[in-house]
């Protein structure tokens, strides 16, 4: 079995196991809150992973995640609530419309000859605001009144509402991560990495840069819109201010910067950590200072960890395992917290802090502890992602 087939089987096993979480929750009567926490996490895993397909792989910085997500939310809101479509029919349209929005942007901006990356970044920053005005202006879309999505009928075979929402978010998150993984180890992925490293050289070597960028942007927008469509139900009441704000792009950028933008696993790890932490911050009543902390983390992480914590976790896997499970075991056994999520949050914070230790300091520490044994030199190259065949 090839390594790709093995990974895909791994995805399938994890997916099936997670799909039965609602049944386990019911059987053992865990609090329902855990399910909601989990599908919030799936939402962010999907958003961060889809963002990373474009920005992480190709290096084109996008602030447009909120716009694509918003197109998805509003498509489902308008088609299902106002036009009476069935949810399952509206969902693909949500993805499609978001994808088209992305392709339109790409068609305009990728043709620009100078400063393409910067102009792309700022255009994506502006588009969410423009779409927000459009939604406010058009009574067909919103007209400033908002749309109630509570009580939207879901297919019955998915179970009752929370269970159905859980399985839908899980499915979309899984699709996103699999797509991100498949692109990462493909000709398209290598082409995108080449664009990130040096676009003119990639172009000269025969990488169809325009087509590859469009595919990556289209995939990003489509997947973001698909998850937006699912999330429309979870929102309950869809408003322009709630949907087209800076939150979605801010969080996906933070998650990917934290986890690492070069590997498909980076955004997943980042999303898991950030979702857990913000959940704890909110439940501790720190929702107000939340954004300040998030912004501060973004500045520090962008400057401190260039490659993200995932690459370092792999390099220092033993330390990672000891720190994470050590802290997790300690907090669980001592029963320090009222919630299992808090235990995980402490373990994650401890692991991230250990991973933030710079490589130079790390090597120094390792030498101190292993003075007697021969130090096994690990090369940087083996840990970096592949950039070409």
């Amino acid at each position: 079995m090839t390594s790709r087939a093995r990974t895909l089987v791994g995805f399938a096993v994890v997916a099936v196991a997670l799909a039965f979480a609602p049944n386990i929750q019911e059987a053992f009567e865990f609090p329902r809150f855990y399910l909601i926490f989990l599908f919030t996490m799936y939402f962010w895993i999907s958003q961060a992973s889809s963002w990373n397909i474009l920005t992480g792989y190709s290096g084109y910085f996008s602030f447009g995640q909120g716009a694509f997500y918003g197109v998805g939310v509003y498509t489902v809101g308008v088609l299902v609530v106002k036009q009476g479509w069935s949810f399952m029919a509206a969902l693909p349209v949500a993805g499609l419309l978001a994808g088209l929005t992305g392709l339109f942007l790409g068609l305009v901006v990728f043709r620009v000859r100078r400063l393409t990356g910067e102009i792309f970044a700022l255009t994506t920053l502006a588009i969410a605001f423009v779409l927000a005005s459009l939604a406010r202006l058009s009574t067909f879309i919103d007209g400033g009144t908002g749309i109630f999505t509570t009580g939207t009928p879901l297919p019955e075979y998915l179970g009752e509402f929370t269970t159905a929402a859980y399985r839908l978010t899980l499915a979309v998150a899984l699709i996103t991560v699999v797509v991100a993984y498949l692109i990462h180890d493909s000709r398209l992925g290598w082409g995108l990495f080449a664009i990130r490293d040096d676009e003119p050289v990639a172009e000269g070597l025969g990488v169809p840069t325009f087509r590859y960028k469009m595919v990556a942007l289209g995939a990003n927008a489509l997947l973001a819109g698909l998850m937006g469509g699912v999330w429309a139900l979870q929102l309950g009441f869809v408003t322009v201010d709630e949907v087209f704000n800076i939150r979605v792009p801010l969080f996906v950028i933070l998650m990917s910067v934290l986890g690492g933008m070069q590997h498909w696993m980076g955004p997943v790890i980042g999303a898991v950590i950030i979702t857990t932490l913000t959940d704890r911050l909110n439940s501790a009543g720190l929702a107000d200072v939340n954004q300040i902390i998030i912004g501060g983390m973004l500045v520090v992480l962008a400057l401190a960890v260039r490659e993200g914590v995932y690459v370092r976790m792999r390099r220092r896997w033993l330390t990672t395992a000891i720190t994470f499970f050590g802290v997790l075991g300690l907090t669980t056994v001592l029963d320090l917290n009222d919630s299992l999520i808090s235990d995980f949050a402490y373990a994650m914070v401890a692991t991230v802090v250990v991973m933030l230790v710079p490589d130079r300091v790390w090597a120094l520490l390792r030498d101190v502890f292993r003075r007697s044994e021969p130090v096994e030199e690990q090369t940087e190259a083996e840990d970096l992602t592949r950039t070409g065949p």
Partner: protein, 290 residues
């Protein structure tokens, strides 16, 4: 017809204020290769400071220019020193300044809440003052902002074309390493330029404070207007930025009259798309320093 003429005049004057907000971003992008998203927050922060000082001490809000401009010059200098220290490149500058923007915006939200704030007619006599030419109103705050924008754009143009400092800035913008080889202290040039750019943002904030209501989300709303102006005007080209500001201002003014104020962002974005399609190298490139 008169309404339309009023829309155009208001648009031209508003364009001056937009240009004042854009010049700082254009300078730091064109000459320093740093896209400073925090500038949007600087403008609003300066406006809030003017508001707070005026309300607390009951003094003339225009006098606050003497406070916020030097203060934000210092902020710009410190920010640039920090960027040098942390070796922030163009790509990282987007993430880092976006983080700064979020921090500043949340700070404003925490300090001044999400409510609308305005200085009020008792302390701010400028807001309601206007004079008429042929039935068309010229509101004083907008007119003042326009004149200041004109002076700054012209002044920066003179500095860039006529002085040693301007030559040094252009050299640094083209090739920092080569500029250093020719004896230009590129760090000092960058620090001064960043201070100037931030000071211009603070100046724009003063006119925001005396001209309109403030709320934290305003900083986000400016993205859609300021960015097209910066692109159309040409990076680092202060006169071009002023012209682009007036164009965008007039377009937004006319569309507000015809289809209501909500349509303005759609029209400005449309202009940007058309401009990118037909003039991908920018509207006015001749004098761009980048």
């Amino acid at each position: 017809m008169e309404l339309l003429a009023q829309g155009i005049v208001s648009g031209i004057l508003a364009g001056g204020l937009y240009a004042l907000m854009s010049i700082g971003i254009s300078l730091s992008w064109g000459a320093l290769k740093i896209i400073n998203l925090a500038h949007f927050a600087f403008v609003l922060f300066s406006a809030y400071i003017v508001y707070q000082l005026t309300v607390s001490f009951e003094i003339d809000p225009l006098l606050m220019v003497l406070v916020v401009v030097p203060l934000f010059f210092l902020v710009g200098v410190l920010v640039q020193m920090f960027f040098h220290l942390a070796k922030v490149d163009e790509f990282k500058s987007l993430i880092v300044t976006f983080g700064l923007f979020i921090i500043l915006q949340s700070l404003m939200q925490t300090i001044w809440s999400a409510d609308f704030r305005r200085i009020g007619p008792a302390l701010n006599t400028y807001e309601t003052e206007s004079f008429f030419i042929g039935g068309i109103a010229f509101q004083l705050p907008q007119l003042a902002a326009f004149i200041v924008a004109l002076l700054i754009a012209g002044g920066m143009w003179l500095i860039f074309t006529r002085t040693y400092f301007g030559k040094a800035v252009r050299a640094v913008a083209q090739d920092p390493a080569m500029a250093r080889a020719f004896g230009i202290d590129s760090r000092r040039v960058a620090v001064i330029l960043s201070g100037l750019a931030t000071a211009f943002s603070a100046l724009a904030g003063v006119f925001i404070a005396i001209g309109q209501s403030m709320f934290p989300e305003l900083a986000v709303a400016w993205f859609g207007i300021v960015f097209p102006i910066v692109i159309l005007g040409g990076l680092g080209n202060s006169l071009g930025t002023l012209v682009a500001g007036v164009i965008i201002g007039v377009a937004a003014g006319i569309s507000s009259v015809l289809w209501g104020p909500l349509s303005a962002p759609l029209v400005t974005f449309l202009i940007l798309i058309v401009a990118l399609l037909f003039r991908p190298e920018g509207l006015i490139t001749k004098r761009s320093i980048a």
